[in-house]
Amino acid sequence: MQASRARLFKEYKEVQREKVADPDIQLVCDDSNIFKWTALIKGPSETPYDGGVFQLAFSVPEQYPLQPPQVRFLTKIFHPNVHFKTGEICLDILKNAWSPAWTLQSVCRAIIALMAHPEPDSPLNCDSGNLLRSGDIRGYQSMARMYTRLAAMPKKG
């Protein structure tokens, strides 16, 4: 069996076992393709994303885990390091700082950490980055909050 397949299978089992342990992350494997995963992550508290549920799409390469998975947001999010249109994420561990010791689960954790600590100096979303860089925390928070409400919260009523 392919190394990547074997490893993903192990991760799948691990995810089933840890489901209860980490309620913020819900990783699901595509029924027919073990290289496609989706995740639902909860916006961290005390951030404008609090209360939102964001969907991530994972595309795992054949060389996994030696090469990082491709991850993007499916849910619209206003964040300096996430592309507003495509949902692409600028995160070092998904690029050159990747280590095969990471798992899909730990990548999700890293993304949650990124939501809580944006890095406005390497923005993919310049509007959002500029708000933060110019010190307009309030402006950034209300924009992010608005999009969380619009896109990441189940509509009531």
């Binding site: 190394a3 490893r7 010791a101």
Partner: protein
């Protein structure tokens, strides 16, 4: 290197004879080229390993590390041993190792439990036998399968020189021996590739070593010792500027030369002129030049249009007005622009014409070699007191050398006194003074070169002995003078012109009387074997077609010791051992024959 400096007079005679033998045998390019330069070495495929061995050994001895750690350190510090030592002294061993990714002590946290025969690999999350795992120097331990996959991915990504450990944030570079062992089991070709990358790092990551730019590539690399701003000749015969890898272009700086070649290629001034002086006809789109008269222009196709805005118009007009058409306010601007473009073009043409003229003369004079050889043969056949004709070849060589410097001095002047590069660094008056100073020197050099050329071209093989003696004196004198003038011009450029600039750094290769330095073959360990030393030296001299050794440092290089060249990095005085020193007084040259 000191051995090169000492030579007895018998040697001079010996080498001198050799030079003539060589001349008769081949008379090829190498005869006129400068002989070996001790500061530049050719590194062939075969000597590449040996070349880096020296540096590796030095580091291994100094810090007492194993070879693969020494290599990791050197790759990190770009093979700059001095820098490595400086960091070692300044920051200490631990810090240097951490920066470069060398870990000596295995981390304790991953110590394998001795009792269990299997261990879980954190990458594939499988339980594997202890015999199937490898532990790197950093202490991280994964199964061989995962390691191998990791290495293959990294080698294919072109990361052979820095394959890091798989653990997160572990900076350690993997042991090359482990990489080799594991990869070669599955993919011997990749292991070979890995080895080659490691070897070639010595060339690619090293600012003192560069590939020879010859096309087709000769496979050699060249290493300089002291100064990367120099001109060198590879053993394949191609001469180039070590710093920018284009043709040898001093006294132009690399930037100037780059701009100049681009300008010549683009003919950008012509294009400029056309855009300013012509307008496309609105109907047939041919460029139309206005040759006088008012602003209503008519194209040969019959279409009339307004010169100022380019729009099509009717044919009725007065001197200042075209019926139902008005756009006159841009007039002044346009004229100024046209004037400037014209001035710039003339300026460029002036410098380019002179540059071209001297390059052309240089090429024509290159044909002189053949005729000169005949003349020398004719003269030698005669039974006369005069036996040594090295003055002819030396004079011819001097002519080539100075002609080259002269032609490249025009592009230099174009940029030095133009607006492109140094507009803000000199006042107008300052620039004028400097330009005069420089042009005086250039002119002197030019007139002496022409004189030298005239004497060398004379059919002196038919002259009487006395006339030949006269020409000989003239050629020797003029050789000395032109060499001197070249040197002065370079000095002036380095110190008075480029040296006084505040903001831009322009480095030029130093003037060497004997021309571009020819790289010597890398002889490993020759300096430690005194016995071999002499043999090598003689062999080299013979191979290079005869040289005259001089006790005094030849007047090569720049006047570093004069202390006013503080703006550029200090150059170690390159002592031109084993080279024709044409600056010696005539009596000295007399003594040779």
């Amino acid at each position: 290197m000191d051995d090169y400096m000492s030579g007895s007079e018998e040697d001079y005679y010996y080498y001198d004879r050799e030079s003539f033998d060589g001349l008769e045998n081949e008379g090829s390019e190498s005869q006129w080229a400068p002989s070996k330069a001790p500061s530049c070495k050719v590194i062939t495929k075969e000597s590449l390993l040996a070349a880096q061995r020296e540096d590796l050994q030095r580091v291994m001895d100094l810090i007492s590390v194993r070879e693969h750690h020494a290599r990791t350190l050197l790759i990190h510090y770009r093979w700059d041993v001095e820098k490595l030592i400086a960091v070692y002294v300044e920051k200490g061993k631990a810090c240097m190792f951490a920066e470069a990714g060398v870990t000596l002590v295995g981390a304790v946290d991953l110590d394998l439990p001795e009792s269990s025969s299997t261990v879980q690999c954190n990458i594939c999350i499988e339980d594997v036998l202890l015999s199937d795992v490898s532990k790197m120097d950093c202490g991280h331990c994964f199964c061989n399968n995962c390691w191998t996959q990791h290495f293959i991915v990294k080698i294919n990504e072109g990361q052979s020189k820095r394959i890091r450990c798989m653990a997160y944030k572990c900076n350690a570079i993997c042991d090359e021996a482990v990489v080799r062992k594991l990869v070669s089991k599955k993919h011997p070709d990749l292991a070979e590739k890995f080895d080659r990358f490691l070897l070639e790092s010595y060339i690619e990551d090293n600012k003192m070593v560069k590939w020879c730019p010859s096309v087709p590539h000769c496979g050699n690399a060249l290493r300089v010792e002291n100064d990367e701003f120099c001109e060198v000749e590879c053993s394949c015969g191609s001469q180039f500027c070590f710093s920018c890898l284009s043709e040898a272009h001093s006294p132009c700086s690399c930037l100037m030369w780059k701009l100049w070649t681009k300008k010549c290629r683009d003919e950008s001034e012509t294009v400029n002129w056309i855009t300013v002086h012509t307008k496309p006809c609105p109907k047939c789109h041919k460029p139309v030049e206005k040759n006088g008269g008012c602003n209503l222009v008519s194209c040969i196709c019959g279409q009339a249009f307004c010169w100022l805005c380019g729009g099509a118009t009717g044919r009725d007009h007065t001197w200042s007005n075209i019926a139902n058409h008005s756009c006159g306010r841009y007039k002044e601007d346009g004229e100024k622009k046209a004037e400037r473009a014209k001035r710039d073009l003339y300026r460029y043409m002036h410098y380019h014409n002179r540059y071209k003229a001297h390059t052309d003369s240089f090429q024509q004079e290159s044909r002189l070699r053949e005729t000169i050889r005949e003349k020398v043969l004719n003269l030698e056949a005669r039974d006369s007191k005069l036996r040594d004709f090295s003055w002819v070849t030396n004079g011819l060589y001097r002519l080539f050398r100075s002609r080259r410097a002269l032609s490249y001095s025009y592009p230099f002047a174009f940029y030095m006194f133009g607006d492109d590069l140094f507009k803000d660094e000199m006042t107008k008056k300052d620039r004028e003074i400097k330009q005069n100073l420089f042009e005086d020197q250039q002119q002197q050099l030019e007139s002496n070169i022409e004189k030298l050329s005239k004497f060398i071209e004379e059919p002196f093989d038919g002259y009487s002995e006395k006339q030949v003696m006269d020409i000989r004196m003239q050629v020797i004198n003029l050789s000395v003078i032109t060499d001197d003038l070249c040197k002065k011009m370079y000095d002036c450029i380095e110190n008075d012109l480029l040296g006084s600039l505040q903001f831009s750094i322009h480095n030029i290769a130093p003037y060497l009387s004997k021309g571009v330095e020819r790289a010597a073959e890398l002889t490993i360990g020759w300096s430690t074997q005194a016995g071999c030393n002499n043999r090598c030296q003689k062999a080299d001299d013979q191979a290079n077609g005869g040289t005259i050794e001089s006790d005094q440092p030849s007047a090569s290089g720049t006047s570093d010791d004069s202390g006013h060249s503080t703006w550029k990095r200090a150059r170690k005085e390159s002592v031109g051992g084993g080279l024709i020193d044409l600056n010696l007084p005539a009596e000295f040259i007399d003594r040779i024959d």
